[in-house]
Symmetry: D2
Subunit: 341 residues, 4 copies
């Protein structure tokens, strides 16, 4: 059945599968101590326009969030995050499992405002009881957000400023980073991200790779013995070069952006069709995720013909559904979907 359920339904882009074939006879050192990882790290540093970033590769997204946040958040502190943030909603308590409270604050369209973080922190420190409370110790945001929206450059800079005022590193979860970078209207480049964030990820799983997230520490922020921390959290891949090989491929000849552009372009076509047909689109976004509010009846009818993600029951009669394109989405699939809508 036709599916626009998510952006991790296809295994990997042909270029990656081909390189896996080509290297099948090679014997490569384990645990990321190999040339592919080295090349990939260099390519990413170049894309970030910062030769001093430190790059590591981890298989999965929840794992990455867990390890990075557990490493950069002080023991006595929690992680400031949007109410709708992935770590607060759909990671099965992976952050709390490492001992840190997620300090969820109100969000708008998936984003938190610098002012709200400032208010939260200043009222925390103003509280005479604050040593009995969970200190705000780091800030987690996603770019694009869980709702496909994007922080502007100005918003990111303001957030980083507030975070640093309160001695908190800013972590940007870029599981869908590519789809943001190439989106219409986006004004944030990868070098901007590298300049602003203290650590961020560049997602592979959802953007052409079989699996893998690149973790990029800036400003010499990589925690001491990070490899050991990754191992201790159970996440050091034996054949780590497979991660390097994939990211080396993605960051050669602009492939990462090309793949991303396809998803956004297909989403744009769908958005236009939705608007033309009078659908109620829930968030203003130009990335690969589209959210529509439909009646229960419409939802039931749609789901018979195409797999979409159910997000939530908005009220008794209405649902929020997600249409998600990816690097692999074809014109045929989009045309078929539009015919159904």
């Amino acid at each position: 059945m036709l599916s626009f359920e998510n952006d991790y339904s296809n295994s990997a882009c042909p270029q990656i599968l081909q390189r896996m074939q080509e290297t099948q006879q090679e014997q490569v050192p384990g645990y990321g101590n190999d040339d592919y990882c080295q090349h990939a790290a260099t390519a990413i540093a170049k894309a970030c326009d910062d030769p001093e970033v430190e790059v590591s590769f981890i298989s999965g997204g929840t794992q990455t969030n867990q390890i990075v946040l557990d490493s950069i958040t002080p023991q006595y502190a929690g992680v400031v995050c949007a109410q709708s943030g992935h770590i607060n909603t759909h990671e099965a308590g992976a952050i709390e499992a490492t001992g840190h409270k997620v300090l969820a604050i109100k969000s708008q369209d998936g984003k938190i405002a610098a002012q709200d973080v400032d208010d939260f922190c200043s009222s925390f420190y103003a509280d005479s009881n604050h040593t009995h409370m969970v200190f705000p110790g780091s800030v987690y945001i996603s770019q694009p957000t869980e709702y496909g929206t994007l922080y502007t450059l100005e918003e990111l800079e303001a957030l980083a400023q507030v975070a640093h005022n309160y001695h908190m590193p800013l972590y940007i979860d870029g599981a869908r980073m590519g789809y943001g970078l190439v989106a219409d209207g986006n004004d944030v480049t990868l070098p901007d991200i590298a300049r602003i964030a203290d650590v961020f990820t560049i997602g592979g799983t959802k953007v052409g790779a079989m699996f893998g997230e690149a973790v990029v520490f800036t400003k010499h922020n990589m925690p001491t013995n990070f490899v050991t921390l990754v191992k201790q959290h159970g996440a050091l891949l034996a054949k780590g070069w497979l991660l390097g090989l994939q990211f080396d491929t993605l960051f050669t000849d602009g492939l990462y952006e090309k793949l991303s552009r396809n998803a956004d372009k297909q989403a744009d076509k769908i958005r236009k069709a939705l608007l033309a047909k009078g659908y109620d689109i829930a968030f203003i976004s130009s990335t690969n995720q589209i959210f529509i509010t439909v009646t229960n009846e419409q939802a039931a009818k749609l789901q018979q013909q195409v797999r979409l993600s159910f997000m939530e029951q908005v009220d008794a009669g209405h649902q929020l559904l997600r249409i998600c394109t990816s690097w692999a989405t074809t014109d045929d699939q989009v045309n078929e979907l539009i015919a159904i809508l």
Copy 2:
């Protein structure tokens, strides 16, 4: 300076200090394997009208909440709790430090409604993504609540019913249990608590003891090797008999209730005076905590003459303050306070 800041400002009631003196020459076995603990447990079981409850003693309240909730909440689950619940606000993330997310739900006057717990859980299980979320695994409430309010018998029974429908144990934090049991209008007895809760505490620290909480497991709910779990959490007191001695004293000749009654009676006098003077009392309560909303100027003036707890800045011009009586509050202190108000 006069203080109504909290109910743990005085060391212990005279009866307890006297017994500590009397037993100074005794050599008593360690770690709670002693006759005092045994006697105290029996006395508590009698007060609960249930000979089968299993009683343990732990020094502090946060510690008790941490150990009990970590022991009864499944590894994949979190603790359902009022937004204003102590474990969610003022225990420095002690619950998350053991790996469990606090699932804070909306509360009214410190209480959560059975219906809200039901809605939360039913919507959790209805979510097709719920295996990627934190399961509701136990329910935490406090009686009296952090705002001095009380659950009615009907409310407690409804909560237990909902909790059990979703296979969650109901834990009642009774750090101020005594002040609730003897409060005007309270319709919940200790046997009711023992019948309804799966585990609850009877607070000593705030009700006459130097330190100590009695943990009461009902329905044979005590976790396997609970003593080892207490030790593993760092909380097994070497001279455990000091806990038994104190609770044996408190549960002899109705002392626990007598001490509690004093606090509530003194609070009633203060409440009457506050009403007569036109103060804005924030929650309807008949226990030992009184919350008043005052202007910043009033607050500043009051705090010069008497130590009160600042709770929060309600708005730019107003604060919420707490007046707290205890088993040790004297008529003189109350009269002095009333003169100041």
Copy 3:
């Protein structure tokens, strides 16, 4: 350079790479809810001759050990394990990171004896202080062991008996399971393992797969909400079907055994050459790992021509080295190695 450093140097066997190519256009549901995982689980159950085993797939070995042991070991307990066990030596404290002490007991050639486990446990329970100690809560062994040796059927049955006598599940880490199953002299079949163990793994990473371990729970031992526990530990792969696809391939037409047989056969050739040349082989083994004790000079000379694993400095003048074959080892490589030896 020629390498016999380990058995995870090559990406994956051709059959797996081919199926990844073939399925590149497919859209498959995420997180293991797919037909490939279902097929693979059925194939494994068949190979185990037990239709009731419950099979799950996890990317890495340390991760698998961490999640399984944390799930099956009681909170107040630790994991009984050989002094030389992988979880005790080379997993960066991943078990302790989840709160469980590794209870290392003496081992011989990588194996623990049932009698030693029995002695350890009986002396634990005989100790009047044992509630202040870490309970033995589960038993971890590896088959083959870290030294390439194998438990006999009788040894495994005795271990399981002792474990069960003390209410401990027996967990068998089968990261190299295939190399044991087809080894000369081995008398333990996969159905034996499934009958004896409470949970065990069948390693893919070291036996032909790109990555992945099959976790097999027997006797209905799978922990409640195991998927959520995997997610909480950060290990639920988005494209979980990649694990299923690989194990489905490995368990079709006896591929897993064929691949394993190559490694053992090549190791046998090397062992014969070593004996002929008078090398000192450290453990008696017929699996894919060979350990030799050589002088420092010999070691230095060898390492210039072939990559081997340094294990430990035996004494001032001698080292223990490991020669490791794999499913991918070729005749040419072995001949080249033998010429060097």
Copy 4:
């Protein structure tokens, strides 16, 4: 029955009980923010001859070890400790419960040698696989040890040197510190300890107090937000001033040393009697713990008349028993014991 079972059988020395009586009417601020704690800290700093030490008070010993070691040991590291160390044997895995492996090394008479720590660490860092292993991150010793023995000044200085060479803080568990300081032949003063250790404790529970350990951080080593860390671990006592009051009493007019001296003096009398009667004393010690190896028959006979601690079954026919004096041991008790021996 006569008991020499341990040194925490009596509640508290008369001076402490008296001050608890005297202050019963006082209202004192909670959580250690009080004058008693301040006075006690100043008195301890003076006794340490170092005005810059930072002193905190915690109720129990296991708790203290757990919080301090979890705070000073890096996340990727474990705690180097004697095989016989309390944290390795009798604290129910409290250290591992916070995620840190206890790295037990061989010990002699309860002590670890600087050379052995050096060997352990140098071989760790020499191992090419060490990033997959648990880093040595801190050193735990006890003074006196679990066997009543004492490190000499030279031994302590050597240990600190080695620890610091490997960037590890040295933590000294002084649960019985007093009994060591005043012991015959001891050449280590409290100022020595404060100069050498990075953090250490001065035990109250076993030396005259009802409960409580003073935690002394030297060289400005107190972790950031230590109070919050204590609270997060569940250990912040509401009536923290009770700890301050007790330590203020113990460190006034040399009471701590007087109390300690009684225990050691009584132990000396017992040791002389044991030697005269030909008993086999197991460790050479001048502190309050005496270990004797006796036949099973002797042990059974002794235990009928006096409570002693059973330590271990040395062989089929012999047991190791402990005779323990304390600050509260009287001449009559000792005479009675000697008559029994």
